[in-house]
C-alpha cells in the first residue's frame, strides 16, 4: 500500500540497478525453450516495487525463468527503445502506450499474440474492451493491458464551503460546472473556479467527446466538426470570462499545481494522480473526486499501458509466459495492492480503492462504461504536435477557437493522408 511520493520514487530508482545485478545470475538465454533471463523494459520508478513483487511471484511458478527490470526514464524511453530495436538489444517484454503502439505494430517489431492468447486462454475478457482494442492492429492482438486510467473531476471542499457552493456529484452537467466556476472564482485571492488547461488527454479530449464531437474517426480528423468546436469553446469560454487562468499562465504553473496550492477549486485529472493528491496534506483532508460532468453526452478518456513482446526476442516462449502471467488475476492483485495505478483486470481494484479511503476512487472505475479510448493512429505524434501551437492563442484568451480548430482539422487531415500514403 505504498503511496507515490518523491522519496519513494527516488528509492525505487536507486534500487533498480541492484535488482538488475542480482537477477543477472539467472543463466544464459536458451533458444525459445521457455527458460533464461528476460529483460522487462519500463519507465516508471514508482512501479518498480510492485513489479518486483509480480516478478517474484512469476519466478516462483516458473523456476527456469528470471526477469530483469530495465528502467529507462520517460524522457528517453522511446528514443532508447527505437535505437535498441535497430541495434537488436531491445528488451524481450516492454511497456507500450497508445500513442506509439500502431507505429510499432505496423513496422513488425512486435510479436503477434493472438494465437498464443487463444491457445493459453489468456483472460483478455477480464480487461476493459476499449483498452484491449487499443492494442490490436489489423485484427491481430499485440499487447495486453496492464493498467488503466480515466479522468475525474477533482474539487477542493474548503473552497466550495467558502463560496457556499454544493459539492459536485454524478448529477452535474456542464452548466453546473460553469455556474460553480463563476461562483468559486475570487480575483482578490487569485483563486480560479476551474483550470481549462490546454492538455489533450486530461482536458481537451474529454470535453470534445463530452460535446458529442470526436478527435479521429475512420482516418479523418474531427477538429472541424461543429460538436468538437462546441467542446473546445466550453473550455475557452471559461478562460475568456476569467473563471480559468489563461494557458499563458498555466504553462508556468499547471492546473494540477494550482489545485495543489489551493488556487484552483476544480480540475480534471487522472486516476493515476490520486496518490500524489493524497500526498498533499491539505488535499488529503479536503479534496474530493467525482465523475466528469455531463455535456451533451457522458464521456471520459480511458488509456492504459500494455505489455508487449519484442519480435526480435530470442526467448519468445518465456516472454509470452511472463506476459500471460501478468494478464492474470494474481499479478493484477499484486499490482493493485501496490497502490500506484488501477490494474486493468476487472474485480482486482479493491485494494487500490481502499488504499485512499478519503477519496471516493470508485468513480474512476464507474466511468469505464462510457469511457472513450485514447485516439491514436500509426504516427500519432505528428498530428498531436499540431494541436498546441494552433490552439495556444485561443486558450490564452485571444479568441478565435473556431478558426483555429478548423485549421487544425485541415492540417491534421493532411498529416493523416501522408501517413496513409507512406
Amino acid at each position: 500500500m505504498r503511496r507515490r511520493t518523491l522519496l519513494c520514487s527516488g528509492l525505487a530508482a536507486a534500487s533498480a540497478p541492484a535488482l538488475a545485478a542480482c537477477a543477472d545470475q539467472g543463466g544464459g538465454g536458451s533458444e525459445g525453450g521457455g527458460r533464461g533471463t528476460l529483460s522487462y523494459g519500463m519507465w516508471d520508478p514508482a512501479q518498480v516495487p510492485g513489479m518486483k513483487r509480480i516478478i517474484a511471484a512469476f519466478q516462483r511458478r516458473n523456476p527456469g525463468i528470471s526477469v530483469r527490470i530495465e528502467l529507462t526514464p520517460w524522457a528517453s524511453y522511446w528514443t532508447t527503445l527505437k535505437t535498441s530495436m535497430r541495434g537488436g538489444t531491445a528488451p524481450d517484454v516492454f511497456w507500450m502506450n497508445a500513442v506509439n503502439f500502431q507505429l510499432y505494430a505496423a513496422h513488425g517489431v512486435l510479436e503477434p499474440l493472438s494465437e498464443r492468447i487463444a491457445r493459453d486462454a489468456t483472460p483478455l475478457d477480464r480487461h476493459p474492451a476499449q483498452l484491449v482494442r487499443l492494442y490490436a492492429y489489423d485484427g491481430t492482438q499485440y499487447g495486453i493491458p496492464k493498467d488503466f486510467d480515466t479522468i475525474g473531476l477533482w474539487y477542493n471542499k474548503a473552497l466550495f464551503d467558502k463560496a457556499r457552493v454544493p459539492y459536485p456529484d454524478s448529477t452535474w452537467t456542464w452548466d453546473d460546472l460553469r455556474d460553480a466556476a463563476a461562483e468559486l472564482t475570487d480575483p482578490h485571492e487569485r483563486v480560479h473556479g476551474f483550470a481549462a488547461e490546454m492538455q489533450r488527454q486530461i482536458v481537451i479530449y474529454p470535453c470534445v467527446y463530452g460535446a458529442g464531437g470526436y478527435v479521429l474517426r475512420d482516418g479523418h480528423s474531427g477538429f472541424g466538426d461543429d460538436r468538437t468546436v462546441e467542446g473546445l469553446r466550453f473550455l475557452t469560454d471559461m478562460i475568456d470570462r476569467g473563471w480559468s487562468p489563461p494557458q499563458s499562465a498555466m504553462v508556468e504553473n499547471i492546473g494540477r499545481v494550482r489545485f495543489w496550492s489551493e488556487k484552483t477549486a476544480m480540475v480534471y485529472d487522472l486516476s493515476a494522480m490520486a496518490g500524489q493528491m493524497y500526498a498533499v496534506p491539505a488535499l488529503k483532508d479536503h479534496a474530493g473526486v467525482t465523475v466528469l460532468p455531463k455535456g451533451r453526452e457522458r464521456a471520459t478518456v480511458i488509456h492504459g499501458l500494455a505489455n508487449v513482446v519484442s519480435a526480435k526476442s530470442d526467448k519468445k516462449a518465456a516472454a509470452w509466459k511472463f506476459v500471460h502471467f501478468m494478464a492474470g488475476r494474481e499479478a493484477a492483485e499484486i499490482q493493485a495492492g501496490s497502490g500506484v495505478t488501477i490494474s486493468s483486470h476487472t474485480g482486482t481494484q479493491d485494494a487500490w480503492i481502499s488504499s485512499m479511503p478519503e477519496f471516493d476512487l470508485r468513480n474512476f472505475i464507474a466511468m469505464k462504461k462510457y469511457a472513450v479510448p485514447y485516439p491514436s493512429s500509426k504516427n500519432t505524434a505528428v498530428w498531436e504536435n499540431l494541436q498546441y501551437p494552433l490552439l495556444g492563442a485561443a486558450f490564452s484568451g485571444k479568441g478565435g477557437i473556431e478558426g483555429a480548430a478548423r485549421t487544425l482539422g485541415e492540417q491534421m487531415d493532411r498529416a493523416l493522408k501522408e501517413e496513409r500514403d507512406r
Binding site: 528514443t79 527505437k82 530495436m85 535497430r86 507505429l103 510499432y104 513496422h107 517489431v109 487569485r190 488547461e197 490546454m198 492538455q199 494557458q247 499563458s248 499562465a249 498555466m250 504553462v251 508556468e252 504553473n253 504516427n379 505524434a381 505528428v382 504536435n385 498546441y388 501551437p389 495556444g392 492563442a393 486558450f395 490564452s396 507512406r422
Partner: protein, 315 residues
C-alpha cells in the same frame, strides 16, 4: 570548440615541417605532432565527420523509425523549403543569433573594466562571471523560469514595486524570444570575458603608459589601443558566438515546454530538427534540415572571414 586551436596548431606544425623539408629531426617532429593530434583526429573522424557524411546521405532517404531506408532523392529538401515552420524557425534562430552576439560588447566592456590596474579580487569576479557558463543549461533554464514566472516570479515582484503590471515573460509570444535571449547572453558572457581578458593581457602595458603620458583618457585608450589590438580575439569570439547561437536548442527546450502558446515564435532550427527526428519519426527530412543549417553556418562563417580584412588588425 576545442577543435579550433588544436587544428590551427597542427597546421602551424605542418607548415614548419614543410619548410624544413621531409627528413631528419623535423620529420620526426612532424610524426610526433600527428601522434599528438591522432586521438582528437580519430574522435573527430569517428564521431563528427563520419556521421556528417551519413547525415548527408540519409537526407536523400526516407528513414524508417526502426532502421531501413529508401532513396527518395530531393523530396526531403523540397519539404524543408516548402514548410512555413522552417522559415519561422530560421527567423527565430537569426534573432537568437543577433541577441547572442550582444554578449561580445558586454564581455568586452567588463573585461576592460576588470583589467584596470589596482583592482582587487579579480580572480573572484572572473570566477563569478564564468559560473553561468559552466552551469548546465537545464539548471539555468529551470532557475530562470522561476525568476520569470508570471505568478510568483522574482522579476515580476521587483517590477511590481515600480508599478509595472505582472507579465508572463516566457509564454507571451512578443517577449518570449527576448526572455530566452537574455538568458543566453547571461550564460555566455563569462566565457567571452575570459577570452577577452586573456587577449587584453597580451597587449603591452607600454602602449597604455605612453598614451596616458600623452593625455589620452580611459575611453580614448579603449578605442584606440584595446579595441584595434584585441580585434583578432574579437574576431575569433564572434565566429564562435555566431556558430553557437545558430545551434541554440537546450535552453529553449527546457524553458518553453510543449504547451506554451509561444512555442512557434521561439522554436529554433535545431529545435525543429529535434521534433522531426525524435517525435515525428521523420529522420530523413530532419537530416536535410540539419544539413541546410550546416550550409548556412558555413556560409555565414565564410562571410565573416571575408569581412575580417576590413576590421581585424594583426599586430
Amino acid at each position: 570548440m576545442s577543435v579550433f586551436p588544436a587544428t590551427a596548431a597542427a597546421k602551424a606544425a605542418d607548415r614548419r615541417a614543410a619548410r624544413t623539408g621531409g627528413t631528419g629531426p623535423a620529420s620526426r617532429n612532424q610524426r610526433a605532432a600527428y601522434l599528438f593530434i591522432a586521438p582528437l583526429g580519430l574522435g573527430f573522424a569517428l564521431f563528427y565527420f563520419w556521421p556528417m557524411i551519413q547525415t548527408f546521405y540519409f537526407s536523400f532517404t526516407e528513414f524508417g523509425p526502426f532502421g531501413g531506408h529508401t532513396w527518395i532523392g530531393g523530396d526531403n529538401y523540397a519539404r524543408v523549403v516548402k514548410d512555413v515552420t522552417v522559415w519561422q524557425a530560421l527567423g527565430n534562430t537569426l534573432v537568437y543569433c543577433g541577441i547572442g552576439l550582444t554578449a561580445l560588447p558586454l564581455a568586452l566592456v567588463v573585461a576592460s573594466l576588470l583589467n584596470r590596474r589596482g583592482l582587487r579580487a579579480v580572480p573572484l569576479y572572473r570566477a563569478l562571471y564564468f559560473v553561468p557558463f559552466v552551469t548546465l543549461p537545464v539548471a539555468v533554464g529551470l532557475v530562470w523560469n522561476w525568476l520569470y514566472n508570471g505568478d510568483f516570479g522574482l522579476l515580476n515582484e521587483v517590477l511590481g514595486w515600480f508599478g509595472v503590471d505582472r507579465h508572463y515573460w516566457v509564454s507571451d509570444p512578443s517577449t518570449a524570444v527576448f526572455a530566452i535571449g537574455a538568458v543566453m547572453v547571461w550564460s555566455t558572457t563569462g566565457y567571452y570575458l575570459i577570452i577577452f581578458m586573456a587577449g587584453i593581457k597580451g597587449i603591452p602595458r607600454d602602449y597604455y603608459e605612453a598614451a596616458e603620458l600623452d593625455g589620452a583618457g580611459a575611453v580614448r585608450r579603449f578605442f584606440t589601443i584595446t579595441l584595434p589590438l584585441l580585434s583578432p580575439t574579437i574576431f575569433f569570439a564572434s565566429v564562435i558566438c555566431m556558430i553557437q547561437s545558430l545551434q541554440v536548442f537546450d535552453l529553449i527546450y527546457i524553458m518553453m515546454g510543449e504547451k506554451n502558446p509561444a512555442v512557434g515564435d521561439t522554436q529554433s532550427v535545431v529545435g525543429l530538427f529535434y521534433k522531426w527526428a525524435f517525435t515525428e519519426n521523420a529522420q530523413g527530412a530532419a537530416a536535410a534540415l540539419a544539413f541546410l543549417l550546416m550550409l548556412l553556418i558555413a556560409a555565414l562563417t565564410y562571410l565573416q572571414f571575408r569581412l575580417q580584412r576590413r576590421w581585424v588588425h594583426y599586430g
